[in-house]
Symmetry: C2
Subunit: 234 residues, 2 copies
DNA sequence: CGTGGAGTTGACTTAAATCAAACGCAGTGG
DNA sequence: CCACTGCGTTTGATTTAAGTCAACTCCACG
């Protein structure tokens, strides 16, 4: 994964330390929960392969997807400091995760401040994504929301080398996931997706998403393009 | 501020270091911007006194308030790692902030991993709040949203000693702020606030918010109460 | 006094939710 | 081999929560 160009280089020494720190690697089946809501686990994860998402639910079952987790992304950090229930994480596809014992997180910082710095970096990056999602659910309308999600996931998939030469990539979300991520109803999400398709902006075929008119999508979503930047990888 | 009981104790040595690291203290007038959207500043802040809020805007002016900043809260960390524009921060009241030169953040981690660890802690805490806000704007209806905001701000004000014995506290938000935080229109926010008031759940008088029926508000918002926990303070 | 920001209210519109019913298709088991 | 099932998608009809437009009040302030 380090070879994809999306991540900062590490020294052999650092890599070795990270390997040590990692307690083990887990394989998760599609649709299985990696972190259960309400249950505080003292573990932290990095996604190795596959897709997952973080979510919260209200007591009557309404669900909000907080963000999607792609290879290289970290999650579970908050649990370390949480005073109680926080969020759940579910695998969208078969996935492999690295597990870190986060009860030793402080030891990590002491022994390898550099790695600690990088954890913070990743956390800050995720916070930026949450900010953007909040702007989306709070102030964008349905068309804009869907356009935003498509282009955002495209960019993220691209940075970790998941996008093919024809600008398409495996898209494991159901429309239910899309609606839960955007705060829309399933039906309305379908209609909106349909409308974007009819406008020729995208196409989903055989489980792959093709962006047919990225420029129009970007304009529609008022999406601010960020230059690709290397980030740390644990 | 350290005396309020909301924050973790620090050793004299640590405090001294934090003082050193701080470049200076700034006073901000109500309504003034502390961080301008689009402008990347290499600085980090801790709010000393007063209220502020983080926000993002779309190019046509629609604004989303991401979260409110209360004394002891840190902000600006993301800028350090940002590849471009992120968010703005505006003072709601007169405010005092500590400024840290965040281009030396890595030095900080190296010299004082403990402080680095605490920065991460604060970042994770803020991420939890953003998660909750996302659930609110994505899945709660107007009544639930407003109830959520009132009780959430109450709890946060309480933890830093801003709440008087009569369960009231100085409430510097206009209805415009409330609506921008919740993703509602101004008019609808007003009606909803009015309805909650008529139900006897709250009262805003002389710029102070009184929660008249916190239990009902909590039930309405499906608010999960967290035990008060001490957090670091920079 | 006049001006402008914040709050309030009524009338009306609309985007999105809800309800309900099909459809296509993959998997399964008789 | 094929009916049965269930999940994901699609579509139409209808309702509703929230947005929009517009006007008016109530201060605080110069």
């Amino acid at each position: 994964m380090r070879l994809s160009g999306a991540f900062l280089p590490v020294t052999a020494h650092e890599r070795e330390f990270i390997q040590d720190f990692r307690s083990n690697t887990l394989r998760i089946g599609a649709g299985k929960q990696i972190v259960r809501e309400q249950v505080v686990t003292r573990r932290m994860f990095t996604l190795f392969s596959g897709w997952a998402f973080r979510f919260k639910t209200l007591s009557d079952g309404r669900r909000q997807i907080l963000n999607f987790v792609l290879p290289g992304d970290m999650f579970g950090l908050q649990q370390q400091f949480a005073d109680g229930a926080t969020y759940g994480v579910e695998a969208l596809t078969g996935a492999a995760v690295c597990v870190f014992p986060s009860n030793h997180l402080w030891d990590l910082y002491r022994a390898h401040p550099k790695v600690g710095y990088e954890v913070t970096w990743l956390a800050a990056r995720e916070e930026n994504m949450l900010d953007e999602n909040l702007l989306t659910t709070g102030r964008r309308n349905a068309m804009e929301r869907v356009a935003m999600l498509l282009i955002h996931l495209f960019k993220r998939a691209q940075r970790v080398g998941l996008v093919a030469e024809d600008n398409s990539f495996a898209f494991p979300l159901t429309q239910q996931h899309v609606s839960d991520a955007l705060g829309l109803s399933l039906v309305h999400t379908n209609r909106t997706l349909r409308k974007l398709h009819q406008l020729g902006l995208h196409e989903i075929k055989d489980g792959r998403l093709h962006l047919l008119n990225p420029k129009a999508l970007r304009r529609l979503a008022d999406y601010a393009d960020h230059p690709l930047q290397q980030v740390p990888l644990l």
